[in-house]
């Protein structure tokens, strides 16, 4: 028996204090208050002055409703841009004029089963500010402890608890451990849960720009032969550019000096926004897709990128993560309110059945979309142009697509419907 005197006991331990982990802690605390003892473990101590960040997310309406219900949205709303319109084009980089393939109003319509009209289906939210807001929402909450810097070495189900050993040898106990450390999840590895996945041989490049002309809330997706290129509008004539290149071309672009890099940006923006300048660091990630073979084990559950990483083509990674948060927090809160054990496989199994299918479908869909568009073959191009042209002419299908992208289809968790837990 370990010396129980030095073993700290919590109800829920969350490994990873980033978007998913912080939001999950916030959801539980908001529903159950400080009687619930939560610990957040993270490898890094949060620095007082975070590094500059260019990333932004296309937050779905459902995910935004969750943040609003959790009292976090008000803080990021002024820094976020409602997407009023989405434009999809497809052309080679050299083509001077890019014919618009598909253009749609990005507002939810009542016929898509939403009570609120005029609510944008998505918002562009700067990543760093969103993470800060989530952190502040839990940083000083009684009942929530931060164990940093620390990492899980291993854990085991004792039957009545999960006994967690940290790398420094200290031990903590909880009813449930949630793995939210992102794609390299130490807790997932410790649980022996394997992943399936592959690399695309592509690199995502992200940079923040400031531009001369107003974007009018329009998000633009160009499908270039090397991969998609997106202009995600942010307040104050700024935008987050996200594009993918094959690894070798990406290496070349990333090695350019600022003037050279800006020239690459200008080629892609193609004069649509007037004069452009760099406003944030250039960042890059190798693209890969992965899916955990299981989302749960006894007293253990995975959320966010620890469970699944999708192609960032549709900017859906954070939305899937928040949907995990909404589903698991709902099940855990309902379980605790009945005095039942949140680590039991009954509730966790329900979470897995709820989320696994959805994220597998998303991963496959985004993967297919990427393959469809990262292709210059005439026949493929003709087929997709025809397909999108068809979508363009069918308003019902369009609003269905908007609703899907808004994260408002399927069996919705309560937080995605603006209902408190």
């Amino acid at each position: 028996m370990p010396d129980t005197h030095s073993t700290r006991r919590f109800d829920i331990v969350i490994a990873g204090a980033s978007f998913a982990g912080l939001a999950f802690a916030r959801a539980l605390h908001t529903a159950l208050g400080s009687d619930l003892r939560i610990a957040l473990i993270d490898r890094t101590q949060r620095s007082a002055s975070p590094a500059p960040e260019s990333r932004a997310f296309a937050l779905s309406a459902g995910a935004r409703r969750m943040l609003e219900t959790l009292g976090v949205w008000d803080e990021v709303a002024p820094l976020s841009q409602a997407v009023t319109e989405i434009e999809i084009t497809d052309s080679s980089l050299e083509a001077g004029i890019r014919p618009v393939l598909l253009k749609y109003d990005n507002r939810l319509t009542p016929d898509a089963g939403n009570e609120t009209t005029d609510e944008p289906a998505s918002y562009i939210v700067p990543a760093a500010e969103l993470e800060q807001a989530l952190y502040r929402s839990v940083a000083t909450s009684p009942g929530i402890s931060f164990i940093v810097p620390a990492e899980i070495a291993r854990f085991a189900d004792t039957g009545s608890a999960v006994a967690i050993t940290l790398r420094d040898g200290s031990e903590i106990e909880a009813s449930l451990l949630v793995g939210a450390e992102g794609r390299r999840s130490a807790s997932r590895e410790s649980a022996g849960i394997k992943t399936v996945g592959w690399r695309y041989g592509q690199t995502a490049i992200v940079v923040l720009i400031a531009h001369e002309r107003a974007h009018d809330g329009r998000a633009i997706q160009h499908f270039l032969p090397n991969g998609p290129f997106a202009i995600l509008p942010l307040p104050g004539n700024r935008a987050c550019l996200t594009w993918t290149e094959d690894e070798i071309e990406a290496k070349r672009i990333l090695a350019l000096d600022d003037a050279g890099f800006l020239a690459e940006v200008e080629t892609r923006v193609a004069g649509r926004l007037g004069r452009v300048e760099l406003a944030g660091p250039r960042q890059s990630w190798p693209l890969e897709m992965h899916l955990a073979r299981a989302y749960v084990a006894p007293r253990f559950a995975l959320i966010g990128d620890a469970a699944h990483g999708v192609h960032p083509i549709a900017g859906q990674g954070v939305n899937l993560a928040f949907r995990d948060v909404a589903a698991l927090s709902e099940i855990v809160v309902d379980t605790l309110r009945l005095g039942l054990d949140p680590g039991s496989l009954e509730g966790l199994g329900r979470y897995e059945r709820w989320r696994r299918f959805d994220s597998a479908v998303s991963a496959a869909a985004f993967d297919g979309l990427n393959k469809l568009f990262s292709n210059d073959a005439l026949l493929v191009r003709a087929a997709r142009d025809f397909g999108l042209g068809l979508v363009d002419r069918l308003p019902a299908l369009k609003s269905r697509l908007v609703s899907e992208a808004a994260g408002l289809t399927g069996d919705l968790p309560r937080l995605f419907k603006s209902e408190p837990l």
Partner: protein
């Protein structure tokens, strides 16, 4: 296997008082004792009890919080309420009631059951007063509780009217009695015995005898005779698509009842 005890539990032989006396059927105790180790296996012989747990607890939480004016959304809505769990078995209900803040006494005439219950609660730090005893003995000792819960028990006792009377007398004035059982309908025979024991194999054969099931009207009469108010009834039903049980107005098969004792 439990084949021999199943035969011993033939209704024609039921009702003989055990050596401990009281309103108890020894064959029934023996059957549950033999299953004791399986109590906490969520996919074992008591899987149905694990599965109906959330629906039953939802009813208990709703009734207790309303009756005692508690806020139901927190972690410990039953703080400081004394609750008696009659026929607690391996502690499947006693533990959640304790986690919700109640000071729980769990009683069961089966010694093995109480050992299992104690061994399961201890490592979790749950302070539950488990005792090998009967409701009759507690009445003789003059015990009173804010609430008495008696779940899935009355269909296993020989004299239901006397048993309800016994449970009711353990409720303090102003307190609440909660019972659950199975209705004596054709549907209950089809679902709770034929389907659950023979077709789906959810329950060991012989777990239930149809003629021991009790109708809500009968429960209502026994409760009135015990001096408690008109009970509130709620059914719980199985949704095969979600593989989940939930509360329902349909009391044809499984149902719960809550009745208060005048202050």
């Amino acid at each position: 296997m439990t084949q021999s005890t199943e035969r011993a539990a033939d209704p024609s032989k039921a009702g003989a008082p055990g050596p401990g006396g009281g309103n108890i059927d020894d064959a029934e105790i023996a059957r549950f004792q033999n299953l004791a180790k399986a109590w906490w296996d969520p996919v074992g012989k008591f899987r149905p009890l694990h599965q109906i747990g959330p629906a039953r607890l939802t009813f208990i939480r709703n009734e207790l919080t309303r009756h005692f004016g508690r806020e139901g959304s927190g972690l410990r809505p039953f703080k400081n309420l004394t609750v008696l769990d009659v026929g607690c078995g391996g502690g499947l209900m006693s533990e959640p009631l304790a986690r919700l803040g109640a000071r729980v006494t769990g009683i069961d005439p089966g010694e093995k059951n109480i050992t299992i219950a104690r061994d399961h609660a201890a490592p979790q730090g749950l302070d539950i007063d488990y005792r090998v005893t009967t409701a009759e003995e507690l009445v003789a000792a003059g015990a009173k509780f804010d609430a008495v819960v008696c779940l899935e028990v009355v269909e296993h006792v020989p004299d239901v009217a006397a048993f309800v009377q016994t449970c009711a007398s353990l409720v303090r004035p102003g307190g609440l009695l909660i019972l659950s059982t199975i209705n004596r309908t054709l549907k209950a025979y089809a679902l709770a015995i034929v389907a659950a024991e023979y077709v789906l194999g959810w329950l060991p054969r012989g777990t239930h005898q149809w003629d021991r099931f009790v109708t809500p009207e009968e429960i209502g009469r026994y409760i009135a005779a015990a001096g408690l108010g008109t009970p509130r009834f709620e059914g719980f039903v199985y949704n095969p698509l979600r593989d989940q049980w939930s509360l329902s107005p349909d009391t044809d098969v499984n149902y719960l009842a809550a009745a208060s004792k005048p202050a």
